[in-house]
Amino acid sequence: MSGTTPEQTRKTWSPRPLIARRWLRWLALFAVIGYLALALITVPVDGARILRGFERSGRLFGEFLQPDFTSRWRDIRIGILESLTMTVVSTAVGVLLALPTSLGAARTLAATPVYLLCRGYITVVRTFPEIIIGIVFVVMMGFGPFAGFLTLTLATTGFIAKLMAEEIESVDGRQLEAIRATGASWAQVVLYAVVPQVMPRFIGLSVYRLDINFRESTILGIVGAGGIGATLNTAMARYDFSSAGAILIIIIGIVLVLEYGSSYLRKRLQ
């Protein structure tokens, strides 16, 4: 190695930094560390309470590992059935209502006032978490699965309409033009140029939303909007962890079946 100069031997390689400008890199680093320090300081942590929690966790897990399906079976059955029925009906109705909303929210198809109206509706519905919409409906409609059904229906329309509007806006414009060139009306353009292009995505999203709706239906009961959440909440309040464990196992089972079912269906459609 006598031919190499000292400069060459000292060369080392290091990965390219994420942010190219040096001052920005340091500023970002300090901002992040400063924020995290401030955030951690303001989280009150009661050490003694957490230690007691570790003792409690023994009992919790012990009883979870011996799930008790039988003693509260009546309540569990009603709760699960409510969750499932809410899921099915709200997905069906929500998907139907999402059809016109998604057409209205597509800039390429709708007149400006309709577009703004539909987009506004989607933004409001999508921004609020399901459970908060659920609280308002429970106050208006009283306790029970009807409030949950309305909540999930609303959330479904917002979810599907937003994603479908984006899909509709990105369809192949040449096909639209071709159908329009035959003298087709607006409805015919939608039916023969737009629908065939977006149908697979629409079915996929509907199936996906069914999956989400079941997950959400498991908690709506906590605020009184029907479903298994009420049973789970009661079981926890009574420290009846073996029943809570049983409910949890049923929820995880149904979620798994729905998730693998829906991803299998979506794969087949695409």
Binding site: V43, V45, E82, I132, P145
Partner: protein, 270 residues
């Protein structure tokens, strides 16, 4: 696509009669299921309350307007807590997810049995809604912001780990082989062969989950796990709708903000 010969002309049909019959049968079954579920919901509904809903709604929104804006300054701390729950929760979730990703990806797992265990943990974390996690954690460590951070972490671990172990499985094997060919150790292969390939996905997933977590952190207070949901719960329980209105506006703005930030970050990394 079958073509039929009838008299002189050929008739083209999209589906065979058998496929059409099956399709119609499927629609009929689906419709029957929805109707059945709808009947179960109506049986559980008190229609008197539902008929009363328009009056209730008018009353409710009437009392929300005008919102009591002087209440807004006392929401600053709860909003800060909400953001911290989401941010710290996402941070801890990604840290907890790292070993799970490594164990669950087929191409990096040390042993199939460990992989099965990791996938089981991921599935459990993902299938249980964060509000249910919060119910358990509040029982264990007591109410407060800390419980919210833990609940959000436990829910997010599975989400982050699932999306990332799939990304790790899709990494380019040639790059990993090239690093290995230089005589790199297992850790070095991971660090220089795998990590650079999944880094953009990692940042994208973390930003996406942070956005979802902000939304979820707004309602964890309903079961006592800190954040603005606590104020919402007390405002609703004491029927102070003018305060609830201010809280709704705050949640709306917070979620819009987080969506914007998350979208910007994801745009930057992809």
């Amino acid at each position: 696509m079958p073509v039929y010969q009838s008299e002189q002309q050929q008739i083209w049909r999209r589906r065979t009669p058998r496929a059409r019959l099956l399709g119609a049968l499927g629609w009929l079954l689906g419709l029957a299921l929805v109707v059945l579920c709808w009947q179960l919901i109506t049986a559980q509904t008190n229609w008197g309350f539902v008929r009363d809903a328009p009056t209730q709604a008018r009353d409710l929104f009437g009392r929300m307007i005008p919102p009591r804006w002087e209440y807004a300054p006392s929401l600053v701390r709860p909003l800060w807590d909400t953001i911290n729950i989401a941010t710290l929760g996402t941070l801890f979730a990604t840290l907890l997810a790292l070993p799970l990703i490594f164990l669950a990806a087929r191409n990096t797992t040390p042993h199939p049995a460990l992989r099965a265990l990791a996938v089981l943990l991921i599935v459990t974390s993902r299938s249980v809604h964060s509000l249910i996690w919060a119910l358990f954690i509040v029982y264990l460590v007591g109410p407060g912001v800390f419980a919210g951070v833990v609940a959000i972490s436990l829910r997010s671990v599975g989400f982050v780990a699932k999306l990332l172990y799939e990304a790790v499985e899709e990494t380019d094997a040639k790059q990993i082989e090239a690093i290995r060919a230089t005589g790199a150790s297992g850790l070095q292969v991971l660090l220089y062969g795998v990590v650079p390939q999944v880094m953009p996905t990692f940042a994208g997933v973390a930003a996406f989950r942070w956005d979802i977590n902000i939304r979820e952190a707004t309602f964890l207070g309903l079961v006592g796990a800190g954040g603005i949901g606590l104020q919402l719960n007390s405002a609703i329980n004491s029927l102070q709708w003018s305060r609830a209105g201010v809280i709704f506006v705050a949640i709306f703005l917070l979620v819009l903000f987080s969506e914007w930030v998350s979208a910007r970050v994801r745009q930057a990394v992809t």
